[in-house]
Amino acid sequence: MRLGYYITAGLAMMLLARVGVSRADVSSDQPAAVLLFPRVAVDSTIGVDTLIRLGNTNTTTPLNVHCFLVDATPVCRADPTLTCLHDSAAPHCTGPCDDRWNETDFRLILTSRQPIGWLISQGMRDCRSNPASDPNRPCFQLDGIVRTGPGGQNNAGSNILPAPHDQFIGYLQCIAVDDTDTPIERNDLKGEATILRSPTPDPGAIVKRCSGNPSEECKVDSECQQDDGPCDTGGVCDQNSSEKCTTNADCMFDFGHCFVPVDADGYNAVGLKAITTKQCPNGNACNTNADCAGIGNGTCALPNDHNNTLCLGGCTPGQGTCSVTRSQSCFNNSDCPTRETCVDKCPTSDLCPVGPEYDGCANILLLDHFLDGAADPISGLSVVTDLTLVPCTQDYLRQNPNKTTVQFLVFNEFEQRFSTSTPVTCFKEFRLSNIDTTTNVKSIFSAAVNGTLTGQTRIRGVALDDPSHGDTLIGVAREFRCGPGSTLAACNVVSTSAFNLHSQGRRPEVDLIYLPPN
């Protein structure tokens, strides 16, 4: 039974690849109707915040945006007031943790061409409600009363919620809607995220902490447990960064100041484009019903039905391929050449009766990375990489995250292949060398096991035959250069650089975003 399904699905994929609308996949370099920022974080104890930049690229028309900020901060099973963010300097859990998936949503209006930016910890409000005593807090400039844009457009009614708590990690999804909150096919949204780790406010009073467990203050290395790395401030003298310091007095001979360096990394939001071309029932582009004569029900229409279920990718229900002329799509035998039949039809779907409304997520994600523990040949620092994965399917209606099994295929520079797998539910961030083992140096992602400096990893969510959700993923990678005394598990971060993943292929199964009712 399942084999039959897979064969059907596979053939449908061939069909998808060969016929129908020429449709791109997820995109982090083109404006889109649905944006996902896969990783946003706030932690005041280590000076981490995330700056979100969002823009409407349309040159004439304002855009309503409905955003969902998802709190995926794991919490302590024994004490839910404690988080499980092990990089935090706040007290955190040392026992078992539970995943969390709480979303809060908000709405905003972007005028034509308008760029905005806000810190996740602060959100953004109307400038009229912004206290004068807080001039640095970002607010919407075009309130519609005191000020409007040149074309009379404004941001009235916009209100971006801040992260619900400190020590926050999660993701942000924004969807183009109309003024009734109905999803619309406007590919005008673009965005970037910058995650910044900033110095402590008072550099003269930098506290020493165990580098692998920042919640532990210390005075000397011996106060840190073996896996918690050396006792360190992270502070350096600004005139000589190889000189560590705790206070400005430590930098006297360099005539400098003690500071913790700023560390910034950024990535582009990942977009899903809405399908904006009218289509015949077979997925071919059309202008009028006349172009669709004899095809299905003969109507030429946009595929987006503007309801609260967004269909990402997948195949068009009822569409098959001719039994011999495989490159030709069909709905009925009469659509095929003489003596051929229409076979391998895409199954009907109650959720997506007309097929895809938005681009689908990628079948495979490609990640090229330093193997954990390899030394960067330029700086000499060891490098580790964290990967963040978020399922493409999102259920904001029932708050019902699905578990996806993720398969990893790792190739080193000797062309040797290793593989492993792990489940992902809702949101997951992991150090590559912790995917398959807790002993990082024994991991198939470690340089010590692979023997080479870099590797290429293919990441695939395993497809299940459940029509209520897909199993593709969206992700982002962050590469850390680690200072002296670091281990693969406890990196004393010197600098971070984030980058978007590459993607390859598509699949016949649909991913879905379920929105709450208006």
Partner: protein
């Protein structure tokens, strides 16, 4: 059951590979999908910055690659660009080979040499730069190099092909005394090859049938509009407060290049800058060969005293169809007053494709 699972996997594997091969072409240059031409717009071996290049074959067969470094540094780097101080536009090319799914890497300043006795990475040895299958000899770049790298998928005879098997990343790493290890990273831009590729030395990116491109487009087109979201010059970072600043460095690389005659691509880039008040400012600059500049050098349209808001959205496009198309990358430096700061690189968003062809002319082979 196990056999059934195996068959399932085999079916899916076979069909997925079909899907990958047969997938329709994408319209524009991309930073997230493999392609047949890979563009690395910003490669620096200058001052405290060196560049680490990563290039991978995403296919299950051997891939041949022909790469060109182009030095875009000025004849007199310490003087401002002028009629008498143009970029060198000096190209150096080399060939490499990547086996099935092979990733490789090299440091721009050292290149890559055969190292049959290179140490592998082990638990006690993390210095293993030359370990792995040797991809081919890669020339080192001299100090002061500021320019680009372009890699083209070719067949065993050296003829360009539309295999779409290449992807790449660039890491710009500082090894200076005050900023050792500070790194920024961006994805190489990939140009997807089309079935119409005639495998000659004239590579047609987008456009229709012309004398130069008798079969029309052989590769996807360069973008019509490139979008830059940036901080205004002089605006602070809201997280770091009033004693902070953010500087933005933009790198522009024309799509048209003639390696045979050493004729660089030239483009006049038009900037349309929109602030948070939806007010529009404009400016332009001319780029010959390659350019890397701080946006503060583009008159005053990016200045916070002019724009009045912290964030800007800029649309960039070639001034005319006679200009070359271009691609680019942006790098921001966030710093507190008196500190070195930290860099973060971003790929640029794009809209649409150019209606006219950009042409890369390769030197004649043996």
């Amino acid at each position: 059951m196990g056999r059934q699972s195996g068959m399932r996997g085999a079916w899916l594997g076979a069909l997925l590979s079909v899907a990958v091969i047969a997938a329709p072409a994408f319209a524009e240059v991309t930073t997230e999908r493999p392609g047949s031409i890979v563009l690395f717009p910003k490669v620096l071996v200058a001052g405290t910055i060196d560049t680490l290049i990563q290039l991978s074959n995403i296919s299950n067969s051997l891939v041949h690659v022909h790469c060109f470094y182009v030095d875009g540094s000025l004849e007199f780097p310490d003087l401002p660009p002028s009629q008498d101080n143009q970029p060198r536009w000096q190209e150096v090319d080399f060939d490499i080979w990547l086996t099935k799914q092979q990733p490789t890497h090299w440091v721009a300043s050292t290149g890559r040499r055969p190292a049959p006795l290179a140490n592998e990475c082990t638990e006690t040895n993390s210095v293993c730069n030359d370990a792995g299958l040797f991809p081919g000899r890669i020339p080192p770049l001299a100090d002061g190099f500021t320019g680009e790298l372009k890699c083209i998928e070719v067949d065993s005879s050296g003829a360009p092909i539309s295999g779409n098997h290449l992807k790449g990343e660039v890491t710009l790493v500082s090894d200076g005394p005050f900023t050792n290890g500070d790194a920024s990273k961006y994805n190489a831009l990939a140009v997807v090859g089309l079935d119409s590729n005639d495998a000659d030395n004239t590579l047609c990116l987008g456009g229709g049938v012309t004398t130069q491109c008798p079969r029309g487009a052989e590769y996807d087109a360069c973008p019509q509009v490139t979008l830059l979201d940036s901080f205004s010059v002089g605006a602070n970072n809201p997280q770091l407060g009033p004693n902070s600043s953010v500087s933005t460095e933009l790198t522009i690389m024309p799509c048209t290049e003639d390696f045979e005659r050493q004729q660089p691509g030239v483009v006049t880039v038009q900037f349309q800058v929109t602030n948070e008040f939806e007010e529009i400012f404009s400016a332009s600059t001319k780029v010959t060969c390659w350019s890397n500049f701080n946006i503060s050098t583009i008159r005053g349209v990016f200045d916070v005293n002019t724009t009045g808001t912290r964030f800007l959205q800029t649309r960039m496009a070639p001034a005319t169809n006679q200009d070359s198309g271009f691609v680019g990358v942006v790098e921001e430096t966030h710093r507190l007053s008196g500190t070195p700061g930290s860099r973060a690189a971003f790929n640029l968003f794009t809209i649409g494709e150019r209606s006219v062809a950009d042409v890369i002319t390769l030197p004649e082979g043996p």
